[in-house]
């Protein structure tokens, strides 16, 4: 046996063992996957609770000379919290599902503003807050390749998303919405939205509980997921848009029902 064949065999065995274990646990010790499918309710939708670090790419806006975002808010990430609702409109047998998804989220960043002219003594930092609130939304097409989970018992579901995004935002201070030069610090930014991720079904951790959840409230599958999200909220590259998008890692919980 050649070295390449040996490596392939070892790798195959490893995957096989993992798949066998996962499959066995996923199907349940007693009932098995076939019996589970007999109890499975129809699956049409998915709801995601999404969380991740967020730092808008405002400083990359063309025409911006300095780094206003980093100057005020620093380089640390804030937390994005969002929900996404997917309609698994089309099911492709032995492959997966495809359908539209909508999401709504919120993130905010705040800091103490500096005085325009630092006092001769004491701190240059004022007591006034300056903040930026961002409400990202998007509509995407979602492709979930769940053939591994449904046909082979491997609880992994790769998926991808593509579509358009829109973020409403508002810059404010303690007096309300900021304004400078007669321009109010509020608006919205369009852009594109992409994501690629992998979901790990956790039904196999407790198949009996998973079946109970399905029969009780219709939740077929519970997963944790991680994805790389590209929120290119830059006004499609046009001028005069606040670049509130970012590229970041998102994790969370997915409920399919």
């Amino acid at each position: 046996m050649s070295r390449r064949a040996c490596v392939a065999a070892i790798l195959g065995c490893t995957i096989s063992v993992f798949c066998t274990n996962a499959s066995a646990q996923y199907a349940g010790n007693e009932l098995g996957s076939v019996r589970h499918k007999q109890f499975a309710s129809p699956q049409r939708f998915a709801l995601e609770l999404r969380f991740g670090p967020y730092k808008p790419s405002i400083d990359s806006e063309p025409g911006v000379s300095g780094a206003p975002y980093q100057t005020v808010f620093g380089s640390s990430y804030r937390v994005l919290a969002a929900v996404e609702f997917d309609w698994q409109a089309l099911r492709i047998p032995h492959f997966g599902s495809i359908g539209p998804g909508l999401s709504f989220g919120y993130t905010s960043m705040g800091a103490k503003a500096n005085f325009s002219t630092c006092p001769s003594s004491g701190s240059c930092q004022s007591a006034e807050n300056t903040s930026l609130d961002v409400f990202p939304l998007y509509a995407v097409g979602v492709l979930r390749i769940d053939v591994l989970m449904k046909d082979f018992g491997i609880p992994l579901v790769p998926y991808g998303k593509a579509g358009a995004g829109l973020a409403f935002w508002r810059a404010s201070n303690d007096a309300g919405t900021s304004s400078y030069g007669g321009v109010a610090g509020k608006g919205h930014t369009w852009g594109t939205q992409f994501a690629a991720g992998l979901a790990l079904s956790i039904n196999w951790l407790d198949p009996r509980a998973a079946r109970s959840l399905d029969s009780a409230v219709g939740i077929n599958n519970t997963s944790i997921f991680g994805e790389l999200m590209w929120a290119n909220l830059n006004g499609f590259g046009g001028a005069g848009s606040l670049y509130v998008g970012t590229t970041t890692f998102i994790g969370g919980l997915n409920l399919e029902f």
């Binding site: 309710s41 405002i58 206003p68 909508l102 935002w169 810059a171 509020k186 939740i219 606040l242």
Partner: protein, 393 residues
Amino acid sequence: MRLSLVIGGAVASLALSATAFAAPTLTLTPTIQRFYQDGTVPAQHGMPASTQGLNFDDCNNNVKIRFTLSMSTVDTSNYSLQAWAGPSDCAPVAARTASTAACWPVLAGNVAQASTTTVDVNVRDIAAQIGRTTTSIALSYSPASASVCSSGVSGANQINVYFLLVPSANGDATGANSPFKIKLTGPPAPTVTSVGSGDGLLNVNWKAATDSDTQGFYLFTDPPLTPISDAGAVTVCTDAGFSDGGVDDGGNPINIPNDASCSSTPISVADGGVCGTSALQAGVAGSLLKAFSTGTPTGNTSSSVSVTGLTNGLTYNVAVAAIDSYGNIGPISAPTSPTTCGSPAPIDDFWKIYRKDGGGAGGSCDISQTEGAPLFGLALLGLGAAWIKRRRK
């Protein structure tokens, strides 16, 4: 036959006598009214729900409490109608007798009897002898001065105002009463811990003193938030009444401020002056310094507030006073330089820096003008919940 006529006549005679000598009864209309001495109606202040509450301002302004009395029978030959106040029952003669007295008179002389009559009683007279011992209570009426309002009586004191029909022989009386709770001191002074500055604003933080009845705080600034155009000073009169101002059309005395009780506190409308040396002096009851008030009290027991609309470049002296459920304003916080002062100044917030750096966004609709955005999020949650609910059925 003759005997029965005699008996019948005797019974009828007794009945007539009983009617003729039945003691009159008094009824007090539950709702009382409050008036300043000039007849205007003071603003309602916080009161405990179960009783009428009277505070320092009521006492200092000598607010009149107007009672409405109804008598079943006017009987001036056997009874006198008198007004008393005290913490306990004033009907027994012992409560109105020297050395055992628990009550004190609140009107000079007797009240004129009528089937229906209104009687005004001054708050100072009600509060006059709170806390006195039985042997020190004065039983002859004398109008109370403003000093009773600052007599140091602390806490809420239950005082009942009695209208009594006192027999000619000065025995135990009958009548009606109205309960009051009188609290003349506000909460202890808070301590201002920091004053931060921003663009036309001050963020004031303080630590409240321990008090079970603190309902909110007044913030004072020197110079005032709204400058007083004609003021070089605030004139404070501690005695608002009893100087002779003649009588009004209704024959009621007009009380004018007693000039001897007035003093002037200078206000610098341009600047609060050197920090810690403002007209806002510690220990002064806040109600006397309302000219410096930034407006309505905070209405809660939080320990910070942001004041906007201030003038950049001025030094503001800041003080805080707590208010209680009666509307009493306690003494103001002690001035400490530089902790209790702040100077608003322009700031560079994110938006200003972004625009100055060449950012071109802004001015279009945002989330606050697009109610659909948050609704969209809620709709997502609603869709999921509805689906789960449907599946459960």
